[in-house]
């Protein structure tokens, strides 16, 4: 197993894999499947709520759930957002990050029950939090809506479930490290710190006045960039060279991408507060950091698109299920970075502020990038862990096209709709009633795309659960060497 190391494997390329199940994979199979199955269940729940939310958003002109307190837009939107982020995004990346660093560090997870316990805590706390949101017990801070007693449980559960990649990194047998490892260690370490500090200053010992809003903007940008962004970048750095069996182009730049991403991402928060009653220097810091974030975006673009552009990489990526999703995500990340840099400037921001534009940028990062990469990773990892094949190729196609079209449609609706909406808002002579009317078209697009996403997720869940159920790979199938 250490052969590729002695032979001096080139940098910029993860170790050669073995098509058989390795012992490290046998060890982490249990926790991985727990995280994966719960993530898909939450994804389905979030998609159903997503459909309801888009219907309710247009509900001032007559939605289907009028006068229903539980399904008020303020409840559904908050529950959907939290389930998507903490239910799907976290569980899925717990699974993938653990698998990635175990593979890269040849780490054998001996205390898998701890990770399983963490997963159980995480999902129980999440269930409680979402029930509380529907019951009207929420805090009013996006992505911290859960009542404050949920916070400490989630933090402990994270340490149990999400800290293993760092252990795997510490125990790796070789001195050599790979870009994916840095990004995963970054995500696994930065999130709990951020979460604890934000909980403390926003819910437990609230800072005074608008400082709460400042701490909140810092928290949200860290969560989106350092958890979703860093984890998904790690996956792209792994799967692109792995499946194409080639070296990342310009790999020597990857450390710059890592450090510039980690260093600038933490400063971008206040860009969400332009025009708000907070000090001007804060807003400027956010704008500058958003622009500086273009550095890692350019480097990852060189790394990813350069790798794909040699020797027919694009067409090979298109014909491979994993890479088709991962490449979609890599392109989405580049678009996200460029938009982020351009639209954090004051003159543009004054137009897009308070519209759906920010939601579109978030959708670009968390869905078109991170979620698509996660899907691609699932197509690679699950067959190895379950020892069986995907039951239906048709469902794979449905999954890709429904999620890809749904993602593009929803992002275009949020961004373009947001821009149009912002133009009208900026013109004081256009009444709010007129604005609401002109957004109905975009609301229809959003509803249709939410249904498309739900269809795609159902196809994925059917395929994945069918595969897990029929798999009978005994634990002893692992290679003992």
């Amino acid at each position: 197993m250490t052969q590729e190391n002695r032979s001096g494997r080139p940098q910029g390329r993860p170790p050669e894999g073995d098509s058989r199940l390795t012992r490290t994979e046998v060890q982490l199979r249990g926790p991985f499947l727990l995280f994966f199955i719960s993530s898909v269940i939450w994804l389905l729940a979030a998609s159903v709520l997503g459909v309801i939310a888009t219907l309710q958003q247009g509900s001032l002109v007559g939605g289907p759930f009028r006068d229903c307190e539980i399904l008020t837009y303020g409840h559904v939107a908050a529950a959907q957002h939290n389930l998507f982020v903490y239910g799907w995004g976290f569980n899925a990346f717990f699974a993938l990050n653990l698998w990635l660093l175990s593979q890269l560090g040849r780490f054998e997870l001996r205390n898998g029950w701890l990770a399983t316990l963490g997963g159980v805590f995480w999902n129980l706390a999440l269930t409680y939090g979402v029930v509380q949101i529907f019951a009207g017990n929420q805090t009013g801070f996006a992505l911290l809506e859960f009542p404050r007693e949920v916070g400490p449980v989630l933090a402990v559960a994270f340490l149990l479930a999400g800290f293993w990649p760092i252990v795997a990194f510490a125990r790796r047998p070789t001195g050599h490290t790979f870009a994916s490892q840095w990004f995963v260690v970054g995500a696994s370490f930065a999130f709990p710190l951020t979460y604890l500090l934000a909980q403390l200053l926003i819910l437990w010992q609230p800072a005074s006045g608008v400082v709460q809003a400042i701490a909140h903007s810092w928290f949200v940008s860290n969560l989106l960039h350092l958890w979703f962004g860093a984890s998904a970048l790690a996956a792209v750095y792994y799967f692109l060279p792995k499946v194409l069996a080639r070296t990342i182009s310009g790999y020597y730049l990857a450390p710059v991408a890592f450090w510039s991403f980690i260093l600038f991402a933490g400063w971008t928060g206040p860009a969400a507060l332009i025009g708000a009653p907070v000090p001007l220097w804060l807003q400027s810091v956010g704008v500058v950091a958003g622009a500086m974030l273009i550095i890692p975006v350019i480097i990852t673009a060189i790394n990813f698109h350069g790798t794909l552009s040699t020797e027919g990489g694009w067409s090979r990526a298109w014909n491979d299920t994993t890479l088709r999703f991962v490449t979609f995500g890599a392109v989405a990340f580049t678009i996200f970075g460029v938009l982020n840099a351009v639209f954090s400037f004051r003159s543009y921001n004054a137009v897009t502020r308070f519209t759906s534009f920010a939601a579109g940028q978030e959708q670009l990062l968390t869905y078109a990038f991170a979620t698509m990469v996660l899907f691609g990773a699932a197509y690679f990892v699950l067959p190895r862990l379950t020892g069986s094949l995907w039951p239906s190729a048709k469902l794979v196609h449905v999954h890709f096209w429904a999620t890809a079209l749904g993602a593009v449609a929803s992002i275009v609706a949020l961004l373009v709709g947001g821009w149009e909406n912002g133009k009208q808002l900026a013109d004081a002579s256009v009444s709010f009633q007129q604005i609401a009317q002109s957004t109905t078209v975009w609301n229809y697009v959003l509803s249709v795309s939410a249904v498309l996403l739900l269809v795609g997720h159902l196809a994925f869940a059917l395929n994945a659960f069918g595969m897990i159920l029929k798999s009978s790979a005994p634990a002893s199938a692992g290679r003992h060497d």
Binding site: G63, R66, G74, G140, I166, F189, A190, S208, G209
Partner: protein, 175 residues
Amino acid sequence: MKNLNSLLAGIFFAVAFPFGTLVISSQVQLGSLGPAPAEEGGPLFPSREPGLAIQGRAVYVSLGCVSCHTQQVRPAGQGSDIARGYGVRASVARDYVQQMPVLLGERRIGPDLANYGARVKGLDGVHAAIKHDGQFAFLYAGAKQEVASERAVALVAYLKSLRQDYSSPEAKLKQ
């Protein structure tokens, strides 16, 4: 990169340094703000909220109103907030020192509410607005939803209390 400790130290720095600069230093800068008179001897603003308004804020938070309504007026030149009549001046940090939690908001699916109490006339208008054409009729009882529940009464008191139309040391109104 090969050393876990230096990697973790770098990541810690990347989280802690922005936190210290953005959050802690703004707490230092703004944390001691309190109600203040615009001119010496004048009345203190923002004034204390009535108890019913505090209850009403809890209803506002619980229904998730913040997902559609902002409570902040941007300065002239950034958007049309003042031209639209959302306020007579831009919001300043001092306006929020009595509020817990601070609900600045991110989306304007509905209009801004920072000065709702200053621009609305009469209680009937507020009740009609809360019902959102029947969307929130569950806050009312009776055949024509004419009986306001306790929550609706508190919410009205809260919305009526929202106003930033006074002079403050940072933002003086033109006489």
